[in-house]
Symmetry: C2
Subunit: 233 residues, 2 copies
DNA sequence: GAGTGGTCTAGACCACACG
DNA sequence: GTGTGGTCTAGACCACTCG
């Protein structure tokens, strides 16, 4: 039955948030300086800073040096997607995972892939097409390009045994990730690979990653009909 | 041409990340204590803490009191989606936004909505069906339920003028948001509202929000064919 | 130039989780 | 119990940016 410490940054955050909610400070308003809040709450400035850091991260306020802290005028809904390794995703659903390499070859990247990376000149890349299966049924088909300059070791990996997805996630942390999600009607080619009806609604995820400025990989993953992507757990 | 301060937490973070990348510490390995790193780098422990906070947030390491810091065994790709107010999304694309209220009524929530909220008993809710248009073409159709106990003021809002989306985002910050994304074939009803062909692939976003434990709203938004959802800018 | 947030430090204590 | 991360403090200086 212990109370929350009066000066915990969580408490401070909730108090400030409460003031925003009850319109003590409305959208676009400037909040008091951190130091002012610190004095008012009887805590250290750094505690207010920690609270503000959290509010800013959740998009409720905006902070600028000299400009101060303002209540976000047009809040955005922020949601964090956790995209696990496909094998683990399948296994966590209690299904048996299987993986199948379809094609693998060195290719000059298509214009679309170059655009994803924001590159102006072609670089040597490895293209890998593979299918992830759950209980022997097609789960996700991925068409992936890997930059050989950034990831030369990939040439020595046996991609018939381990998926590029898994190897990369385990061995090549990225510093930036672009994501694009959309729905698409299944083509004849989709239907053959995913064993689904032509014209079915398919969920598509396009993902491009970099380490620093160096491109790592860009892929289009097409999921089986019925696939859903969630936030959190 | 100023160098980055030797003890900036960003520098410390990059150094630690580098050690993880070059396999000084591999997946599952335990990292030295923060204090150990601090001594090694010649900085304060809190600086190491700040660096670790960032690495943990990006899913590269996992931290536990007493258990120490370990390199994440199965990294997850984390992507943050920014979902703006629909009106702003449309306007930022340079299109003219229009909004159309289709239906509005008090209704007992369906079982699916109750499940979204994790509620066991029905509560009074307002159901709002509305269409967002871009350049007079259907953009997103939303079917929304709003909990009247949590948001009683919504009864006094003129939803023919302002969308529930906009009013809620501006006036009801949330503390928790669940998101579910998937693709679905358009039904006859979809095709009429969105003026698209029956059977088209539609992108669906289901979103449920709470403030504390109190349910705010739960909605299903169906986008026009061709809609894409991005990360960041 | 000057005001505000961002960071770094050194030290203290707390809280959780493992043995 | 005990070790580790989490937090809080007080103070100093830095860096961005607005006027």
């Amino acid at each position: 039955m212990t109370d929350k410490p009066r000066h915990s940054w969580v408490t401070i955050r909730d108090r400030i948030r409460e003031m925003i909610l009850n319109s003590t400070y409305g959208p676009g308003d400037k909040l008091p300086r951190d130091e002012e809040f610190a004095g008012r709450f009887g805590c250290a400035r750094s505690t207010v800073h920690r609270a503000m850091q959290d509010l800013a991260q959740n998009g409720l306020v905006q902070r600028r040096r000299k400009g101060g802290t303002t209540v976000q005028r047009d809040p955005v809904t922020r949601a964090t997607l956790n995209i696990p390794i496909t094998r683990l995703e399948v296994e966590q659903k209690g299904s048996v995972y299987r993986y199948q390499l379809i094609r693998q070859s060195m290719q000059p990247p298509s214009a679309a892939i170059l655009a994803n990376f924001g590159l102006h000149e072609a670089r040597p890349m490895l293209r890998v097409e593979a299918l992830h299966l759950a209980d022997s049924r097609p789960y996700i088909f991925e068409d992936r390009w890997i930059c050989l300059e950034t990831v030369p070791e990939i040439k020595d990996v046996d991609l018939t045994r381990e998926s590029a997805n898994e190897w990369l996630v385990r061995n090549r942390p990225y510093s930036r990730c672009d994501l694009r999600l959309y729905a698409r009607r299944g083509t004849k080619s989709d239907s053959e690979i995913l064993q689904s009806d032509v014209g079915n609604a398919l969920f598509v995820m396009e993902r491009t990653t970099w380490i620093g400025d160096a491109p790592i990989t860009s892929l289009r993953a097409v999921a089986h009909p019925g696939y859903q992507l969630f936030t959190q757990g």
